[in-house]
Amino acid sequence: MDSLFGHLLGVIRTAESGIALSAQSENPGLITRTGSYIVRRIDLIGELMLEHLWLVILTVIIAVIVSVIVGIIISYYDNAAQVVLWVCQILMVIPSLAMLAFMVPIFGIGFTTGVVALILYSLLPIVRNTYTGIRELNPAIIEAAKGMGMTEWRILTRIKIPLAMPVIMAGVRTATVMVVGIAAIAAYVGAGGLGELIFQGISRANEPMIITGAIGVSIIALTFDFFMNWGEKRLAAAGRPGRGQNND
């Protein structure tokens, strides 16, 4: 993490000095000011970034466990599936500020409220992808497994989940990137993270602070997206035969 951070800092400094040179300005520009803000408050920024990461990771871990289980269960019950997916859909369209506000009377102000709200948001993509990933498997494959005497549990663990994995992972990725963004808003109810920089910056009219927060959130989102995309492709390659001598 430190090296990634140092690298980014280097990039920003270079850009900054370049612009400063070309502008030849007495009044330091926004980029220069943001740069110097980052350098000055690097400790705080690092701390908030870790806090943000922790918020996201904890949320996603809990959300994956809950959603995959729910998704698997509803793949056996069509009627329940419609209801569950509908509820998740509704949860997702509630504006994030409103959702956080609803949570405050129940969980008070702080980290827990943020995590709970974020989990509710990330349910839909994972539940839906788990459900459709399993339901859209070729029925011939499932029937062959059943006809050969595999138990439902074995079919689920050996056939259905491995085959639906790429689709499930796509849902996890969508949820994660979304949570990174919404987690910034969760700072409003005291959940911490880079959102604090943004909100404080807005209230103090401190532009470098706002921009630093925004850049931090973007970096986290892009990093997650990149690694999960990579992981997804590896997974798909392992599950997708033809070339795969490398797995197992």
Binding site: G149, T151, P241
Partner: protein, 370 residues
């Protein structure tokens, strides 16, 4: 071995029964083919035997035991199952696919490996080449073979096969059918085989059960079915050209001794010898073999006109289509029509020459029969 009594299936939300009070008895070691138009209930009947579908009424006995009182998982582990789309697991290697049932039965690893290799060899796939491949790297015909291998690996006494050779081209299908019959001759399993193709039914079966709208119209041996169809429906299904269909029932080795085999020409025969043989040959061509009696090629009358060579090996042209002696006469006819020739060379598994069968031979068989 398998006995169905007043077996009935009504799918939820449907008024008409898919299968109506069906009675059927299949003897041990027999291949019973269920045949009929789509929607006649043949697949439903088959899938009730391993309880993929639970019967609405009636009884199923296997070896005297009431299937409906058995644990379905245990029941299925002892019934080989091949479905139309084969349903290989795309995320597993061929070896893992074939090992499915032994894995469920918790066999020791070495035994699984040994059995998988054995059964792969049996269906004509080299385990050293194919075991580590994935299903998507296989051709349609190879996948069907793997499907059969997977169903047979734990040596189940009973196999259920739903159009197992449906999704391949006719030539590959004929070859798979012949291989399967050869395996069956050795294994002697009790097989319920579903198809909509009456030709396949005649070829594969010991007995045929013709189904229509959920009931069996006629259950008879193929030869009885051809000679005395029970009603108009059966005779329409069997079709008009019954004597041609009889070609499905006769294997090449059965008539090979009765026909003029066309003696092979050794590869070192001189031009004069070849000419002599050519003059005698009914098909105006001779078959050239090497010292091990392996088929090397063919020499037609035209090939000899320009005296470009000395011995038979110099003249001979490649033979593209041959047939093995366990194929049916109908297969032979297909190959002839495909190649546009009036004959086809018969070879054994090692490519050794056994004789040549001609259109005239087929005609004689059909004539004798009717």
């Amino acid at each position: 071995m398998i006995k169905l009594e007043k077996l009935t299936k009504i799918f939820p939300g449907q008024k008409e029964a898919a299968v109506k009070e069906l009675d059927l008895e299949i003897k041990e070691g027999d291949v019973c083919v269920l045949v009929g138009p789509s929607g006649c209930g043949k697949t439903t009947t088959m899938k009730m035997i391993n309880r993929i579908y639970e019967p609405t009424g009636g009884k199923i006995y296997i070896g005297g035991e009431d299937v409906l009182k058995m644990d379905p998982i245990k029941l299925r582990l002892d019934i080989g199952y091949v479905i139309q789309e084969i349903g290989l697991f795309p995320h597993m290697t061929i070896e893992q696919n074939v090992a499915t049932v032994p894995n469920e039965k918790r066999w020791p690893k070495e035994k699984i490996k040994e059995k998988v290799d054995e059964v792969m060899t049996l269906v004509g796939l080299d385990p050293n080449i194919y075991n580590t491949r994935y299903p998507s790297a296989l051709s349609g015909g190879q996948r069907q073979r793997v499907g059969v291998a997977r169903a047979m690996v734990s040596d189940p006494p009973i196999m259920l096969m739903d159009e197992p050779f449906g999704a391949v081209d006719p030539i590959t299908r004929a070859r798979l059918q012949n291989e399967f019959l050869r395996i069956q001759e050795r294994m002697g399993k009790t097989i319920v085989f579903v198809t909509h193709d009456i030709d396949e039914a005649i070829k594969m079966s010991d007995t045929i059960a013709v189904m229509r709208e959920g009931v069996i119209v006629q259950h008879a041996t193929p030869s009885d079915l051809l000679s005395s169809p029970a009603d108009e429906f059966v005779s329409n299904l069997v079709g008009r050209n019954r004597s041609i269909k009889r070609l499905h029932l006769i294997r090449i080795h059965e008539i090979l001794d009765e026909i003029d085999r066309l003696k092979p020409t050794p590869e070192n025969a001189s031009t004069e010898e070849i000419q002599k043989q050519l003059d005698k040959s009914e098909i105006r061509a001779v078959m050239v073999v090497d010292r091990d009696n392996k088929l090397k090629g063919i020499i037609g009358a035209n090939d000899l006109k320009q005296r470009t060579g000395e011995v038979a090996a110099d003249y001979c042209q490649d033979v593209t289509d041959t047939i093995t002696s366990d194929a049916t006469l109908n297969d032979a006819l297909s190959v002839m029509l495909e190649a546009g020739e009036g004959y086809v060379a018969v070879v054994n598994e090692n490519d050794q020459y056994e004789g040549t069968i001609t259109l005239g031979d087929l005609l004689n068989v059909v004539k004798e029969d009717s």
